[in-house]
Amino acid sequence: MKKSMCLLLVVVLLTAVSGLAVAENVTLTLMYQNSGQETGENWMDDTIAMFQELHPEIQFELMNSTWGDQYLTQITTLMATGRTPDVFATWTSGRMAPFVEANRMADLRPFLENDPEFYSFLQEGPLASTTFGDGIYAIPHNLNSELIYYNKQVFDDLGLDVPETWDDFLHMIKVTKENGIIPIALGNAEIWTGTIIYMMLAERVMGLEAIEETMNGDRLWTDEGFIKTGELLQDLMAMGAFEANVNGISPDEARGKFMSGKAALWINGSWEIGVLNHQMGGENYGIFTMPEYPGGRGSADHQIVFADQAYAIGANCPHKEAAWEFIRFMFSPERQEALVRSQTIPATKVEVDPSTADPRQVEALNLMAGASGTMFPWDIPLGAFLGTEINKSVQLLYMGESPQRVMEQFQQTVNDAL
């Protein structure tokens, strides 16, 4: 009897031990944006493959076949119905808020606090855009800034220098225009692209603080600064800074004009670096920031910087530990170095070696690091609805509508939405 009891005990112990050693098989659903062509994507494929070598017990069920609007439609439906994926890409800030408010994302703060080394590896700034109340609901994946790209060939041919003052900037527009070159390529068929230059100008006119106050609702959109900016934009249009029909031109087309030297400047995000390097050659273009506006309150060191993609864990994910393990691997120094190589600017404190990294990327990173103040592109904190509305409002400015009326209309929309 005793013997058999002993045997039983041994068997029980053995099972328990083996249970610890061989973790049970887990399948995680993983959802992220993928248009089948971006440079960063092989990074994700590699990350998954490498992670599975380390953790053969964790399998993935992928949902990565959509991008943009279609991704938004899919993820929103899943959120609405509570069928949230285990690990998924989300937007940040205002565009993430509805999902957090509906309790669809797990709070990652406990995980982070258990793991101070990893916590300190993440940059605070981007992390703030996924923090709501006490909780941190996603880990920001990439950093972007909005930049002015210039075509070196065009600048050389016309004897132009990189504009440092507002007068330089106007001079540059005049000279390029006179020589039959489009000063600024703009493909506003994607309406957020036209808002970038408006935001840059608004900062130089009003300063960061005034804009932050507006975002917080302490200042109206009918503020004279926004109207003044609208007028400034329309002055530039009158000078011929853009083509006639910018709202009808796609970003692809505008980029094409910039790369072929039909246009001198191209204003867009830092994610364009990869494409430009690939299609134009990194040595053929440069980067600068909008000069200060005389009498304005902004600074040339103020920049538009943001994290737009972040990774979250579903609130009802049954394998949160495994999911967290994967996120930790994504954001490990090793994988972050690979991310830099894929020409994405990481949101972690990974060391970027200036001697091996892409020079344009280093340039953008340095600009970011040297910024004395930053703001988000407005459509992110404003959220899905107002974010689109502000872009549409700026689009009206390009159609020549009066800035006063446009901003009054937008303020009305803001009031209605509350």
Partner: protein
């Protein structure tokens, strides 16, 4: 002289018809041919003829981009929808058009009203109402429910009209021969309605084969994708990848055109007798 004018008119007419036919066929043939051209060659002269064929893009979309799943899924969903819908449609149409009861017209009107509903607005409530079923059988299988339901209005409309045109004498003869109501249905009425069945089959097959929006919302897993979704994924942030797009479009278009060519005689007969009787 008159004969000359008549002939000239006739040949001019045929010429115009030919031009129209070419304008229909050429873009489609171009799609298939371009998908197997070398991408660089293709971009230099997109509308020219190929020097050599390059099937590698098919391999790429087939394996890397899950088009093999998409083809299979589209095929499964379309076929099951067609079959189940036919059973439901035939029985319901028989009850509405051949049996005698007071509310048959009301029921028919109820089905037909479905044609007016703007589909996209009901997707979220639909998904929410199907949630208990999704939890059990998964979103891909659940999607069959709205697909089948969605085919019912037009199918019942076409088959009812067709069945109404069957003379009552046929029925009487069958009953005199000793048929009961079930035998009357599957031995007499269904076989006579076959042209309309062909019409409905092809319409429903194509309807599901080409459906985009419900698929987008229900089918989030890669392995659940259908062809219309697979087609659109190559239009992204950095412009459209034409070779991949054209290959996927070809994979989607060839079966549907073949099915149509196979069934076209019956299809037109079914439409003739059924679909449009005012």
């Amino acid at each position: 002289m008159e004969i000359v004018i008549y002939k000239a008119k006739k040949y001019l007419g045929i010429l115009l018809l030919m031009v129209l036919a070419i304008s229909v066929i050429y873009p489609l043939a171009w799609t298939v041919v371009s998908s197997i051209r070398e991408p660089t060659d293709f971009f230099q002269d997109p509308w020219g003829l190929p020097d050599e064929f390059d099937f590698s893009v098919y391999g790429k979309v087939w394996t890397e981009f899950n088009v093999k799943y998409a083809l299979l899924n589209s095929f499964k969903l379309s076929t099951i929808t067609v079959c189940v819908s036919l059973i439901f449609t035939l029985t319901a149409s028989f009850a509405i058009s051949r049996m005698r009861w007071r509310y048959s017209n009301v029921v028919l009107a109820f089905f037909l009203a479905g044609l007016m509903i703007p589909g996209h607005s009901t997707i979220i409530p639909l998904y929410l109402s199907l949630l208990p079923i999704i939890e059990v059988i998964g979103p891909k299988n659940t999607l069959l429910i709205p697909y089948i339901a969605g085919t019912l209005p037009i199918s019942i409309f076409i088959i009812c009209n067709y069945m109404q045109s069957i003379p009552a004498s046929l029925e009487e003869a069958a009953v005199i021969d000793g048929c009961n109501v079930f035998q009357l249905f599957y031995k007499i009425i269904v076989p006579v309605s076959l042209p309309a069945v062909a019409t409905v089959t092809i319409f429903n097959f194509l309807g599901v084969w080409n459906e985009l929006m419900l698929g987008l919302v229900f089918l989030t897993r890669n392995v659940d994708q259908t062809l219309p979704l697979a087609m659109l994924r190559f239009s992204g942030r950095f412009g459209t990848q034409w070779s991949e797009t054209l290959a996927t479009v070809s994979i989607a278009v060839i079966p549907s055109v073949l099915l149509y060519l196979l069934l076209q005689e019956k299809l037109i007969k079914g439409m003739t007798a059924g679909s449009v009787k005012g």
